[in-house]
């Protein structure tokens, strides 16, 4: 399992890639592996608003459904529609082609609540 250093992580197992005032969001390789083969993804629509700590969508395996929480508040500016037909991208490339949504952030200071790669890895060991 890998946790790229340039990303930030939430304790709900999402990652964030910050690009200016925008945040690209997905689920971590740990979350993807714990869930198993992802077979279904539910995403919000462009212009929907998302709130830090609240569910914006879900990922499902044959066995289970799991909510995905937004690490930041803001407005959805892009969703990864490729996931609707190819949800397995979340397993094969969780930090790349498996991205879920891009959000224009309302409050960049929310990023300070998130974990670095090494802190996230330490958090997983505790959990």
């Amino acid at each position: 399992m890998s946790f790229p250093n340039e990303l930030k992580y939430s304790k709900d197992h999402e990652w964030v890639r910050v690009e200016g005032n925008k945040a690209v969001i997905g689920i971590t390789s740990h979350a993807a592996e714990a869930l198993g083969d992802v077979v279904f993804v539910e995403l919000p629509e462009v212009d929907d608003s998302v709130t830090a700590g609240e569910a914006f969508g879900s990922v499902e395996s044959v066995k289970a459904v799991s909510d995905v929480f937004s690490p930041v508040s803001g407005t959805v500016v892009a969703v990864n529609e490729a996931l609707l037909d190819s949800p397995e991208l979340i397993n094969s490339d969780p930090y790349g082609e498996g991205w879920m949504i891009e959000v224009e952030m309302e409050d960049a200071s929310q990023l300070e609540e998130l974990l670095s790669a090494s802190d996230y890895e330490a958090f997983l060991k505790e959990e």
């Binding site: 198993g36 083969d37 077979v39 279904f40 499902e60 044959v62 066995k63 459904v65």
Partner: protein
């Protein structure tokens, strides 16, 4: 936290890299390589399951037949030695204590195979209701191991390890014989909708038999976990206790009436209630559902018609072989006609679905 129970194959699962979960108090493998891959392996070749957690009771004595006729819903009067029969054990209300398979192992001797999570409840229930019968009951669960080899290639793989002519065992029959040199009971049964065998052995021989089957089936047999077991039985529309059957759902509501011998001479527990329900008509029915809208039905989700709740999902998932998002639901009978459009409430949102004819998978298990 109470300690989870482990089967004799626990170490084997860990060595194979299985993801272990709590299943009814047992620490069991939910998957090895992945549920979907294991599911397809069973449909296309073969999969090996650890089912040692299942419970086995032996009922023996001059009144053995009388006792099971009273305890269980099926009519065992014509069952022959070597034959298996599926049945339910009911409460006087008609609700279900457990569903199980009865092996007739001798003239006055039966083995009952019950669900792992129900072993203690079943044992207490049976003890309480056989007092008037001249029988002896033994719980042999702890000293019995069980593996299930399922799929179109199951026969050719298992045949390498036994002198028993496996093709001579008819579906729902069994025989005794050696597997990998160890004495076993081999039945042509399973819970996947595929041809296959269940092998019961001494607990201490389970690991050897498991390893030898995987060796003999190298490149063909995948170890398969509870996740695939659930998706396979679901596609074959086999009920799972706690979902399609429980203390509040009768066998008639679960559309398992053919396993309820209301016409057998003897009285059995639940007979009066079930007879009454049959005469009056069942208030609810277990039905198959196909999602029309985008969403996956999961156990417990409400099923609605015109905004009104008419039932709930008992099992639901994206069915790997069928390739559709399907569900089973317990629905009020007046809404249960095939072709009826309903809504499934998925996390607060109504998503369209239609009632379809089961089973989902049109493929003959032998």
């Amino acid at each position: 936290m109470t300690e989870l129970k482990r089967t004799p194959l626990y170490d084997a699962h860990v060595e194979l890299g299985a993801k272990m979960v709590d299943f009814g108090g047992w620490e069991m493998p939910v998957q090895y390589s992945g549920i979907v891959k294991e599911h397809h392996a069973v449909r296309n070749a073969a999969g090996l399951f650890d089912v040692s957690h299942m419970g086995e009771f032996v009922i023996k004595g001059p009144d053995a037949l009388k006792a099971i006729q009273y305890l269980l819903t099926a009519d065992f009067s014509h069952q022959q030695v070597g034959q298996c029969m599926y049945a339910m054990m009911c409460y006087p209300s008609g609700g279900v204590v457990d569903d199980l398979i009865v092996y007739k192992t001798g003239d006055d001797e039966y083995m009952l195979v019950v669900n792992a999570g129900n072993i203690e409840k079943d044992w207490a229930w049976i003890q309480d209701h056989i007092k008037d019968f001249n029988v002896e009951v033994k719980d042999i669960s702890d000293r019995t191991g069980e593996v299930a080899l399922q799929g179109p290639k199951a026969l050719e793989v298992l045949q390498q390890l036994t002198d028993v002519n496996l093709d001579g065992i008819k579906p729902y029959w069994f025989t005794r014989g050696d597997v990998a040199g160890k004495p076993c009971l081999i039945s042509r049964t399973g819970y996947t909708g595929e041809d296959g065998f269940e092998v019961y052995c001494d607990a201490g021989d389970t690991r050897l038999i498991w390893d030898r089957i995987l060796e003999a089936g190298k490149g063909i047999v995948e170890p398969a976990g509870l996740g695939a077991r659930d998706s396979l039985r679901f596609e074959a529309k086999m009920p799972l206790y706690g979902h399609e059957l429980d203390e509040n759902i009768t066998p008639l509501e679960a559309l398992l009436g053919k396993f309820v011998a209301l016409d057998k001479e003897e009285d059995f527990i639940g007979k009066a209630a079930l007879l009454k329900q049959k005469q009056e008509g069942v208030p609810r029915k277990v039905r198959g559902l196909e999602m029309i809208g985008r969403g996956i039905a999961r156990a417990g989700y409400p099923v609605k018609k015109d905004g009104q709740v008419i039932g709930h999902i008992t099992s639901g998932m994206p069915a790997p072989t069928v390739g559709k998002n399907l569900g089973m639901a317990l629905i009020k009978s007046e809404f249960a006609e095939i072709g009826t459009e309903v809504d499934v409430e998925i996390r607060g949102k109504d998503v369209k679905a239609v009632i379809i004819k089961p089973p989902f998978l049109q493929k003959g298990a032998k």
